[in-house]
């Protein structure tokens, strides 16, 4: 209504045209079934959109602001400090260790999970007796709450009573407790990083396998048969038919896994808390220890934002993959 009247004051012609057009369509557009459906629909959507905007969107913007301020848990008033937080984060050596470990962790563990998951998926694809039971048992690492299983691993990696070491020493692969060849899994920098990665792989490989299995079973057998009739070998069928068909699912699965891995701090926090001497520090633990424990909210927010350049391309491609799968 307002648009029409303001338009009218400037040029009477258009106003007239709009008036006519409106009258022809019927004045109460809001009364049409379409309009009522839209109102109803957007009302139903509103709570979800609001929740997400208020508790994901706004905090995300807030974290950008925090990262540019000297906010801390103690001081109520924060001042704008520009890029100081990012600069001071980059100047510490522990930040580089954390960044390197995060990348190593994500890529290394990701590749291992992919490899083990693929092997497992092809095994589970075969028909055999007890398949359901074995599948249900193999996915337990993924379904068990993460803090729970990490505690189990912490006990298995115990410096003195590790069951792994007990077995290794009985097999004469390592010396007795206290000797130089007795591995202290969480106490030596290299070993600690390996252990932490191993637990991540242990938790993630069933997920990769199940996602892959879902993809493989979604390939219609007729297409494979057609390829076979056309003389394609197994490898050709795998490369030219199976891989392209399951690629989006593979990608979505690994993107999810990467996000889970990148944002998870419980494995490192509970096993080593970044130690020994910062050797297993990753960006999430560093952000937590700086931001929440140390109270330097701004610094912590800045550190966690370093994950964005890794995440954004992933999310972008995921978006495209999801779009494509819609149809």
């Amino acid at each position: 209504m307002t648009e029409v009247s303001t338009g009218g004051s400037r040029s009477p012609d258009t106003s007239l045209a709009i008036e006519v057009g409106r009258r022809a369509r019927g004045v109460s557009w809001w009364r049409t079934p379409t309009a009522r459906r839209y109102t109803f629909g957007y009302t139903l959507l509103a709570p979800a959109v609001l929740y997400v905007l208020l508790l994901v969107g706004a905090p995300f913007l807030f974290s950008l602001y925090l990262a540019l301020s000297d906010a801390s848990t103690g001081a109520p008033v924060a001042h704008f400090v520009g890029l100081d937080n990012f600069r001071s984060a980059v100047e510490t050596s522990v930040f580089y260790t954390a960044l390197r470990n995060t990348l190593l962790f994500t890529v290394g563990a990701g590749l291992l999970k992919g490899l083990l998951g693929t092997t497992l998926a092809f095994l589970l694809l075969q028909p055999f007796h007890g398949r359901k039971v074995i599948r249900a048992l193999i996915v337990v690492p993924f379904t068990l709450p993460i803090a729970v299983s990490v505690l189990g691993w912490k006990w298995m990696f115990d410096s003195q009573f590790s069951v792994i070491n007990w077995a290794l020493s009985r097999l004469d692969l390592i010396g007795p407790y206290g000797s130089a060849s007795w591995p202290v899994w969480l106490g030596e920098p290299g070993l600690a990083l390996l252990s932490v990665m191993f637990v991540n792989v242990w938790r993630g490989f069933p997920f990769s396998a199940i996602v892959l299995l879902a993809g493989l079973t979604s390939v219609p057998p007729e297409i494979l048969d057609a390829a076979k009739v056309d003389g394609a070998t197994f490898l050709q069928r795998f490369r030219k038919v199976i891989v392209p068909m399951i690629a989006p699912i593979l990608f979505i699965g690994s993107a999810f896994d990467t996000v889970f891995t990148l944002s998870d701090l419980s494995i490192v926090y509970l096993l080593t808390n970044g130690g020994p001497d910062g050797a297993t520090e990753i960006l999430p633990t560093l952000a937590y220890n700086t931001g929440i424990r140390g109270g330097a909210l701004g610094r912590g927010a800045a550190i966690s934002l370093f994950l964005l350049p890794i995440l954004l391309p992933l999310i972008f491609f995921l978006l495209r993959a999801l779009r494509r799968r819609q149809y």
Partner: protein, 295 residues
């Protein structure tokens, strides 16, 4: 001689087919064995640790894989009598309950609107909501700590009730959207012809036939509330307000002393039921994240 060969032929064929099947099975089982051991041994080890006597844990001479001293329930007693474990369980259940309730209340209408009402931009909105599931907690937990403290909820499990739906709503909206798409339009139209409004059709016709989807959403909310560690660690530090995973991981370690037996007992008591229930719904979960489009 002749009679023997005639009789032996079919038996031999059957036997080679059977031998083939057995060989195939053996190969598959051999391939799966390492995976099984790696997946299951840690859990077996946790279970046996939970019901061993303390002294039994630290005997290094004999094989540790079985009981050297009689098994005991002492660790479970200890949890309930000497720690706030009872509180933690109550907290965890309460958190899960409220998170599920909020999630259903918000995600059901949203999923329905996205799936059914042919709204402009609905596809983009749907993907947009789902993508927020991927914004990692590690970026959000510091600003959310401010939100939580401005709501005066720090050190209360209610803070987690506010925060967990940021994960469950996007996921369940997406999941339910896929679900509602499979409900035939006709039954809804029939209800509307019979005099139901759009809302009436949703409540009286669509929801009752969608209960498997609703249950999946509830299970997902429950398991997620029990799986999280980061937000609980960041927002709750008062002992009797903690959920189980956080309580077990932080309160049963005093300095350098680990109460391994009760640690494992406390972890498994909640972990195993979650793992079992999650196991049944795993396929639905996977279908959900891979785009609800695998046919």
């Amino acid at each position: 001689m002749a009679t023997v060969t005639v009789a032996a032929r079919p038996v031999q064929v059957a036997r080679t087919a059977r031998a083939k099947a057995i060989r195939r099975h053996v190969l598959i089982y051999l391939g799966l064995a390492p995976f099984m051991v790696i997946a299951i041994f840690p859990i077996f080890w946790m279970v046996i640790t939970a019901i061993k006597q303390d002294a039994d844990l630290y005997l290094v001479d004999a094989a540790p894989f079985w009981f050297r001293l009689p098994p005991t329930w002492h660790n479970f007693d200890f949890l309930f009598h000497n720690t706030s474990y009872g509180d933690w369980i109550v907290n965890t259940m309460a958190i899960s309950f409220w998170v599920s309730a909020i999630t259903l209340l918000v995600a059901v209408p949203a999923g329905y609107a996205l799936a059914r009402l042919r709204l402009p931009f609905s596809e983009n909105l749907g993907i947009g909501i789902f993508m927020t599931y991927l914004v990692p907690g590690i970026i959000l937990f510091i600003p959310l700590a401010r939100v939580v403290s401005s709501l005066d909820l720090q050190d209360s499990w209610w803070s987690l009730v506010v925060v967990y739906p940021t994960l469950t709503i996007p996921f369940c909206t997406w999941l339910l959207m896929g679900f509602f798409k499979t409900v035939p339009f006709e039954i809804e139209e029939a209800a509307m012809v019979d005099g139901c409004g759009q809302l009436g059709a949703l409540l009286r016709v669509v929801l009752p036939v969608s209960w498997p989807g609703l249950i999946t959403a509830v299970i997902f909310s429950f398991t997620l509330s029990m799986q999280d560690f980061l937000y609980a660690l960041a927002f709750v530090s008062v002992s009797d307000q903690k959920p189980v995973p956080l309580g077990v991981a932080t309160e049963l370690i005093r300095g350098d002393i680990y109460f391994w037996g009760s640690l494992m007992a406390g972890a498994l008591l909640v972990g195993v039921p979650v793992a079992i229930v999650y196991n049944f719904f795993l396929d639905k979960f996977i279908t959900g994240i891979t785009g609800a489009a695998i046919k």
